[in-house]
Symmetry: C2
Subunit: 394 residues, 2 copies
């Protein structure tokens, strides 16, 4: 390499370095995704408690444009995380949960949009080394001990406010859209209410509309109940002791069941398993095939989840209600219910869209045709791909 | 009163006495209902275990005709009992659960039909002095100790077989019909399969069709789970110790929730209770209004129910499957689903009816229009009254 070549090479490297600096959080390089973390020195919750050192994880895909306004924020679901798309490594078993619609050339096109996703406060997956969150399992900076139930009640609005601080730091001037499934759809709605001038588009997938219905409040309670019944829970004070895994597994089993539909479950578990060693017709301690299968899945999942984080997240969504704040919203909304959803049935989206239109605002409804129940918002989201692409282009 | 008058009076009394003897179990005298009991000295369950002294309660309304073939058997639901109609005393707060359609001149007309209803094996309501049942809380005749989980697994078919023994003893030659809501609809189907020549009509209200769907199997498991999580349950061996009331209350809360619909719950609990002392947005230990309300109801209900009986009844219904036995059925079937049922949604009845017709048999479907979910099969059954009256007259 001669001197001229060396200079040219250096120039290119400098240009590349400047480009990288201009895109402070772009991590979807060569299709690989990295977890990053952000720390808020202070954060005061809606319930009026000030927390110190609120740290959470985030991922980004695509590049922030010069005007810093091509951002699509992806809010995750109840038991999800900021891993919305891509893979950390080639050998990963699965990509992020909405990878079908997020990526180069995909409906949420990373060639156009800078996609940001972040872990919520009290994110469930404390046992996942790639999830970074602050919640009851975190150590209180002053005492060095886990908060436990001393952690304040948090709300979806709190989730959104800490994520907004990240976008502010990244220099984002305005979102292009905010989107999310289920719990993420709730956060998306809070974004639109809290920051009306910042949020022109909301994609509300498999969501409840503008508030948690009373029925949903009770369902969230029924998910939490088994944890509180587990003797190991100890009123939330189980850190340093065996955690309430049995109750947590029972909770997760109910979440999984409520997230599915009769037909999907029948297709998966309906056929009698003649090879089963369990005989529920002979022994009370034996279980039917579907129960054994759900038990195994739930026990496996429970070891990576913190029970108190589960309770706090349930409570957060129980408190969701922006029905009195509709007038503030300037965004147009794309509702994407699933036909077979038993958790947030499609009529909730239909009614919310009617209500929004009646207030003189813009709403579309795209129904996912699927037997997969609520989970269609993850597994079958590609069916709404073109509807999302068009909505983002409008 | 002279001698002639006295003789006439005596004659009338004798005729009346003979009439009463000809109607061995008529207890709906002057609109008052009495509980009676029946004991089977031996009964061998479908699981092959022989029980001694199987005792259960029953009620009857109306009179058995001379041909002893005007019987309508009413099978009760999961948490119900044989108290299907009438009142024990004038001051009773409520009559039996299907009183709206059972009685003189009502669709199940006690002027025409002799109505019999009986408590199932392992009936939940062991704390109700008017319920008589044999189950895990009963004392094993040989040891004098409660069976606990030593009681054999029982099935809806077992429920039916013990009740058939009662009808045989009453001399019933053939049913006019068998009817029941929910769990009762399952028993009704078992009657039609087990005794095809004995059962010409089935009223299958808010039922699952010909088998428990896999989704329903998992729901029944989710109801049982909180009981098994309660440390007081002790593997079912809690007699003489504090029973697992917290787990049982949690189970009953979930049954109640699953038995309702979003709209019914919203109408009842959706309005914010501004007088509430609980503030779930400030304290994790405080609960939303609907949760507090359901908790209070469930705790109250739990004290009259045995937790093991709950588990055995759940298991029984998990095992329901007569889909391979359709060809045996000679009855025609009236399906009465509820439009808003989330437990056994109306499509289950629609599909079962289609399947039954495809097998060359007679089925009708009458849909209850209601916001009350599964519970419409109790609260709104009068809406199906004329459909039932016509079906019984055909």
């Amino acid at each position: 390499m001669n001197v001229r070549h060396f200079h040219r090479h250096l120039q290119r490297l400098l240009v590349l370095a400047l480009l990288l600096l201009a895109v402070p959080a772009a991590t979807a390089l060569d299709g690989r995704v990295e977890k990053q973390s952000f720390t808020l020195p202070h954060f005061t919750t809606e319930s009026g408690i000030t927390l110190k050192q609120v740290r959470f994880g985030y991922e980004t895909y695509g590049k922030l444009n010069a005007r810093r306004d091509n951002v699509v924020f992806i809010a995750h679901y109840f038991s999800g995380s900021s891993h919305a798309a891509g893979r950390y490594a080639e050998q990963d078993a699965a990509p992020g949960y909405w990878d079908a619609i997020i990526g180069a050339g995909k409906p949420i096109d990373t060639d156009k949009y800078f996609v940001v996703s972040a872990d919520t406060l009290a994110n469930l997956n404390t046992g996942d080394p790639r999830v970074i969150t602050t919640g009851p399992a975190s150590r209180e900076p002053e005492t060095g001990k886990p908060y436990g139930l001393g952690f304040p009640v948090v709300t979806p609005r709190d989730f959104v406010r800490v994520h907004k601080a990240l976008l502010d730091t990244l220099g984002v001037t305005r979102l292009h859209a905010v989107a999310g499934p289920s719990g993420g759809s709730i956060q998306a709605m809070e974004w639109a209410v809290l920051y009306p001038d910042y949020v022109p588009r909301v994609v509300h997938a498999i969501g409840p509309g503008f508030r948690m219905p009373a029925y949903g409040v009770a369902m969230l309670d029924s998910w939490s109940a088994p944890i509180r019944l587990d003797a190991n829970w100890h009123g939330g004070d189980y850190y340093g002791h065996p955690p309430p895994l049995a109750g947590l597994a029972s909770a997760l089993k109910l979440v999984r069941l409520n997230s599915q539909h009769f037909d999907g479950v029948e297709a998966q578990y309906g056929k009698r398993d003649t090879t089963a060693k369990q005989d529920p017709s002979a022994r009370m301690t034996d279980q039917p095939a579907i129960v054994s299968a759900l038990d195994a899945l739930s026990r496996q999942r429970a070891v990576t989840i913190d029970a108190n984080h589960f309770l706090y997240t349930s409570r957060a969504y129980q408190l969701f209600d922006v029905e009195q704040d509709l007038a503030r919203i300037k965004a147009k909304i794309l509702f994407i219910p699933s036909r077979s959803d038993l958790l947030f049935p499609p009529f909730l989206s239909q009614r919310a869209a009617e209500k929004f239109r009646a207030a003189g605002k813009q709403a579309e409804v795209f129904v996912l045709e699927s037997e997969s129940g609520h989970l269609a918002g993850l597994s079958d989201i590609a069916k709404a791909g073109e509807a999302i692409r068009r909505f983002l282009a409008q």
